[in-house]
Symmetry: C2
Subunit: 159 residues, 2 copies
DNA sequence: CGGTTTTAGTTGAAACGTCAAGTTAGCGGT
DNA sequence: ACCGCTAACTTGACGTTTCAACTAAAACCG
């Protein structure tokens, strides 16, 4: 085996910081949502994804793609959310295998009530600290990384 | 309650991408380390942090800060790593409450063996996709976010 | 000193995520 | 129409993380 290509000092610095962000940011969002809405970030994200679809409905496989979760994990979470009355599951009329999750009025209300606090948190942690130019740089940089991490754009909507 | 400050289109785009990265990147690292070293990313990070200290030793509270974990989580993980013979726990001579974790030779060897593959993965996902200028931008941007996320620099060494 | 508070860590139970196995429905070829 | 194969989940067991309660040592303080 060959000598590994170690990181330069600049790369190492950038890496440690990126690492710190990926460790701290999810925690931060988690805490805010748990405290103010009683939802985990993943639960919120699931509800938010469904809420943006026509009829507030989405098939589980598609939902799993967009939330970067296994079908198994999603199935467990959907069961919990259903038990809380935030959504319902129904068989697809088109495909007997598929389940379609639909937000209830309570689920819709939950999203409406939770979104402002969540956005405020995102803004205060990320965007209040960055210039418009930096926002654009960040977008480009993440786009580059996603070319490797998510070559088929499974997460960003257009499956 | 007042109307929330929603995100602009550019901010929204940047946010979705950053989100995608923070969801996908940990997964990627996890898989590589699990496959090639039989360690979770957190376990690897714990061992790596200790390995960089004098005497390959570090007190648990300090380690918890640097790995962004609760003491409880760390305690469980340290117990598992100790059971695998990768490190040992000992009471601090200075402070009777403190435990100090020290890498064994096997633990040190594990870090040495695992690091190259891990660095290669980091390089292939992050740095191969970025120009030198973008690396510097990323570093700045993350630094800005960390001013809010980690104001006391708990993660980046100089506690 | 002696009592209170704070810090460091451990432990066990509950919650959550992952993994492997199973079920049912569509699909492709013959 | 039938057989095998794949896709879309579901389920239960297992491992990990979190949470709350606990112990013990140090620090503070009058």
């Amino acid at each position: 085996m060959t000598e590994p290509r170690w990181l330069t000092d600049d790369e190492r610095e950038a890496w440690l910081r990126l690492m710190a962000v990926t460790m701290l940011l999810p925690n931060r969002l988690e805490q805010q949502l748990k405290r103010d809405a009683g939802l985990s970030h993943f639960e919120y994200y699931v509800l938010a994804m469904i809420s943006e679809c026509a009829d507030r409905s989405l098939a589980l496989t598609e939902l799993a793609s967009r939330t970067n979760s296994s079908l198994s994990r999603l199935s467990h979470v959907i069961a919990r959310l259903e038990a809380q009355g935030l959504l319902t599951r129904a068989a697809s009329p088109r495909d007997g295998r598929a389940s379609i999750a639909t937000l209830t009025d309570a689920g819709w209300a939950k999203v409406l009530a939770s979104a402002p606090g969540h956005v405020e948190e995102v803004r205060s942690v990320v965007f209040d600290a960055l210039s418009a130019r930096q926002v654009s740089q960040l977008s480009d940089i993440c786009g580059r990384m996603l070319a490797t991490l998510d070559p088929h754009h499974r997460l960003l909507g257009l499956g």
